[in-house]
């Protein structure tokens, strides 16, 4: 046996001994356990459990423990089964470059391993970061209040409708959303509203956007909230937002706008078009596409303040009269108001909000507006190139687009998507002859190859 083999065997024995003791994250030595049992006055740890024998678990889960290295290698190998595709996918989740600074700072353990700020005197750092996040969203939406993190855009939309129901003075229980809202969001919304006996209806869009006159035909006095996305799930930029807001107003319905922090930097300011609530996914900055993991953006008018769901950070003073931050208006929350709380949300997406705030700070005003402008130019140029391909029309709707657009194909769209996947690209098939294409700074390097692949596939 060579020396090296001997060493490997020894280290394997040693680690298997450690593992057989159970748990690498419990720091107790045998002497500790003995001393602690002595102090308690117990003979054994088993004695401390007050579980009737009839429900004690005697079996095994059949889960083998593994070394840290093995776990990392196994997961790495398993995930590597994912095909390496360049994603031209969007529809509410977008890939923008996340600066290195975001990981470096957010992974500092004082942030990553902290908890809800129930003791603000030792949580000033996180509280200030959340306050700055709220402030950035207040600036981008123009609305008076932004909460500091909900789960994702879909659940934020559900909370918005419940808020609208609470603040609206007249009766009625219908929420009206555009027919472009993706069905996952619709399903979440319906689940949020079922308990309040509210219903969701869709109104038709015209040429890929909200048409105020058509909307007006569908709004009634039963309507509690009108929801419009800008840009829409197909990337179209709305041109009749103010008019849509007026329609909602005329029926005393809340006007809720769906967007994201990048689009908000460029497109019409929600407050300026009469929006009462803004929802969306803020993780578009700060997080890579993490299989749809998000950060619910939620902002609203200041007079809705006492009805806002979720956590809020406010400024106050400490005993030395210095500025200090604290969670505030907690009487709205479930740990105090229980079944009468504005929401059941407790654990939220605070750490993602920190990442988003750092990303926005890194970009600054200029960088954020530039990024937004790039989303317009990139999609416009790509649509123009695809449109030149025989058998492709892009964009389907003659409007301005943000990041993404629909393209019509002569061939079956599912087949086009499947063929593109074989060629290394992921796109979304919308219906029989339309695919959806999304471009950002992240997939820009592959755009020419993508155009070539589309040309090949539809030929």
């Amino acid at each position: 046996m060579t020396q090296q083999t001997q060493m490997t065997q020894n280290s394997q024995n040693a680690s298997s001994e450690r593992r057989s003791e159970g748990n690498p994250f419990t720091p107790h030595t045998e002497a500790d356990v003995e001393a602690m049992l002595d102090a308690i006055g117990a003979e054994s740890v088993e004695e401390l459990f007050d579980i009737p024998p009839s429900v004690q678990f005697e079996g095994s889960f059949g889960i083998e423990s593994a070394s840290e290295q093995t776990v990392v290698q196994d997961i790495s190998a398993t995930l590597a089964q994912n095909e390496q595709l360049t994603e031209f996918l969007g529809r509410g989740q977008y890939d923008h470059y996340v600066p290195s600074l975001v990981d470096n700072l957010s992974l500092r353990s004082e942030f990553l391993t902290s908890y809800t700020q129930y003791q603000p005197e030792i949580a000033q750092g996180f509280l200030q970061a959340l306050f700055e996040y709220q402030s950035m969203l207040v600036e981008l939406t123009g609305l008076g209040v932004a909460n500091c993190s909900m789960y994702d855009a879909a659940t934020a939309l559900g909370e918005a409708a419940l808020l609208a129901d609470r603040v609206r003075e007249t009766s009625g229980s219908q929420v009206l959303v555009s027919d472009l809202v993706r069905e996952e969001r619709l399903s979440v919304l319906e689940n949020y509203l079922a308990g309040a006996d509210m219903t969701v209806e869709t109104y038709p869009t015209v040429n890929g956007a909200t048409d105020a006159a058509t909307l007006a035909e569908h709004v009634t006095d039963e309507t509690v909230m009108v929801y419009v996305e800008n840009p829409t799930a197909i990337g179209s930029i709305q041109e009749e937002l103010s008019a849509a807001g007026d329609v909602a107003d005329e029926h005393d319905a809340a006007f809720c706008l769906g967007s994201d922090p990048v689009a908000l930097a460029l497109l019409e300011e929600p407050a300026a078009v009469g929006a009462d609530i803004v929802v969306g996914d803020a993780s578009v900055l700060g997080l890579s596409p993490a299989y749809g993991m998000g950060l619910g953006l939620f902002a609203c008018r200041e007079d809705y303040l006492r009805q806002v769901p979720g956590r809020l950070v406010g400024v106050s003073e400490d005993a030395s009269d210095n500025r200090a931050y604290t969670l505030t208006l907690q009487t709205r929350e479930q740990h105090i108001r229980r079944e009468r709380a504005t929401s059941n949300i407790c654990t939220n997406q605070a750490w993602v909000a920190l990442r988003t705030a750092i990303h926005i700070a890194w970009l600054g005003a200029t960088g954020l507006v530039d990024l937004a402008a790039e989303c317009v130019e990139l999609s416009r140029d790509l649509a123009a190139d695809l449109d030149e391909i025989d058998g492709v029309t892009a964009p389907v709707y003659d409007r301005h687009h943000f990041r993404e657009f629909l393209a019509e194909t002569r061939q079956d769209a599912e087949q086009v998507a499947a063929d593109l996947e074989s060629a290394g690209f992921a796109v979304h098939a919308v219906d029989d002859h339309r695919i959806q294409v999304c471009i950002t700074d992240a997939n820009r390097p592959e755009r020419d190859e993508f155009v070539a692949a589309v040309e090949e596939v539809v030929a």
């Binding site: 423990s65 593994a66 299989y291 500025r323 505030t328 479930q334 229980r338 059941n344």
Partner: protein, 474 residues
């Protein structure tokens, strides 16, 4: 005695606080000049801070130094289960192959689906449940999902008239809120003298209108509901379902399973029991497990293995979706890594040491603990002291205090849960801090803390005149 002096940063004359980014440099950009879009669809301007990268790096580094995390010290918040979070799980979450778009085809994301499916399977085994969904993005979202599943089940069986959910008065506030969100009337169940479920009161409360009983076991006083089998029988006989709140599962891991106790639905708090960091309060994840009868009502999509392929499918009577995508994937991935690392023995050791630590700490403190025997947490009383003041003074001893003033069954409650990752030495320090504060005069308590980055903060005025963004400071 250990002391914890938190960093305070001053960049301005005489002020102790770290200034806001906006105070350092706010820049206004004229939007119209930056885009080819017409004015009608664009905004006029944006005002945000604009700083160099080193300035931003220092700003957030300083903020981190004014923040307490589990690696700074113990976090014995009862019912919150704040334990040490292994580092390697972050490496796993950072793998490039983990960052796939949610709309990718199942065929092209077999790796992601395999881990997703395996975690469903592991959690089912750990909870003694037949089917699991990973979609709910937090514990309360899991509660909401579980109650929606119960509702759909009753409606499917023509029992949609069941409109009440029973919740013990000591339960987590989220139980009440989640049941109400799902449209139920909440029936509060008072405790018995020993802090557990009062079987007579339960018999009284259940009936034709009972949809479910939501129960935490061990409960929020750290007590095991020994009568759990009778409780299950009472609820089931009345036609209701038994819901397990997984917030305290850390105390039972590998010792007992909710499914074996008669629970029909449960949620897991991956960010508590399975040690995924939830910085600043989140993200977490709240998968739910259900018995076979309820599997068809789970959210869509579910993941299953068919031959060698993993695929997505919609359960027969699915309630639809409770999250826009597949839940908090990165959190799921970290929890999976943690479970793989520990295996059967490690998971069982977790609850063993958590219970040992709680009992040891309980034996070392001089405060009254009215209820027992307890498992992973106990509720001590601060006696004639204000529990909130008591907590503030503990900050000066370098430890995070317990959860205060809850559950209100115990007056001036200090709900304490040390978790399994604390050493005997740390527990001795925590006990010393609790005992020292108990000896101090009221003035010291009411003016504490003094060694932290901020002194006692005026929370009343923060709520009375809310200032919620830097615009409110201008």
């Amino acid at each position: 005695m250990q002391r914890y002096d938190q960093a305070t940063w001053s960049e301005t004359d005489g002020d102790r606080y770290e200034p806001l980014l906006a105070e350092k440099n706010e820049q206004q950009v004229d939007v119209a000049e930056q885009t080819s879009l017409p004015d009608e669809v664009t905004r006029e301007s944006v005002s945000l801070p604009e700083l160099s990268e080193p300035e931003i790096a220092r700003h957030y580094t300083r903020l981190s130094q004014m923040n307490y995390g589990i690696e700074n010290g113990v976090f014995p918040l009862g019912s919150c289960t704040m334990k040490y979070n292994p580092k390697f799980t972050e490496d796993v979450a950072a793998l490039a192959d983990a960052a796939v778009h949610r709309d990718r085809s199942a065929e092209s994301t077999q790796g992601t689906l395999e881990i997703y499916g395996r975690l469903q399977d592991y959690l089912g085994r750990i909870g003694g449940m037949d089917a699991v969904t990973l979609q709910p993005p937090a514990g309360a979202a899991g509660e909401f999902t579980g109650i929606l599943v119960a509702k759909a089940y009753h409606e499917h069986n023509d029992e949609g008239n069941r409109n009440e959910v029973i919740v013990p008065s000591s339960a987590h506030g989220t139980n009440f809120a989640s049941a109400a969100l799902a449209g139920y009337d909440v029936v509060e169940l008072p405790p018995s003298d020993d802090g557990r479920i009062d079987l007579d009161a339960l018999e009284e409360a259940v009936g034709d209108e009972t949809a479910a009983l939501m129960l935490t076991n061990p409960n929020t006083l750290g007590l095991f509901e020994r009568d759990i089998e009778e409780i299950a029988e009472i609820v089931h006989d009345a036609g209701g379902l038994l819901y397990y709140d997984g917030a305290n599962l850390n105390a039972l891991l590998g010792q007992a399973r909710p499914g074996d106790m008669g629970f029909d639905i449960m949620h897991f708090n991956l960010h508590k029991t399975f040690a995924t960091p939830h910085g600043g309060g989140g993200p977490g994840a709240g998968p739910i497990g259900v018995t076979e009868d309820l599997a068809g009502f789970l959210p869509s999509p579910q993941v299953r293995a068919d031959d060698d392929e993993y695929e997505l499918y919609e359960p027969e009577h699915s309630i639809g979706k409770v999250h826009g995508a597949m839940g908090n994937w990165l959190v799921l991935l970290k929890a999976y890594a943690y479970i793989e690392r520990l295996g059967d023995d490690g998971l069982a050791d977790t609850s063993t040491k958590a219970v040992l630590n709680a009992n040891y700490l309980g034996s070392k403190i001089d405060l009254d603990i009215p209820f027992g025997p307890f498992h992973h947490e106990f509720v001590a009383s601060a006696g004639d002291r204000d529990a909130a003041d008591f907590a503030k003074r503990m900050l000066d001893y370098g430890v995070h205090p317990p959860t205060t003033k809850w559950p209100d069954i115990v007056s001036e409650a200090l709900m304490t849960e040390p978790t399994e990752t604390e050493s005997r030495k740390t527990l001795d320090q925590l006990a010393a801090a609790l005992n020292a504060v108990a000896e101090e005069d009221e003035t010291t308590l009411s003016t504490a803390p003094s060694s932290t980055s901020a002194r006692r903060i005026d929370q009343t005025s923060a709520a009375r005149s809310p200032r919620l963004s830097w615009h409110a400071l201008e």
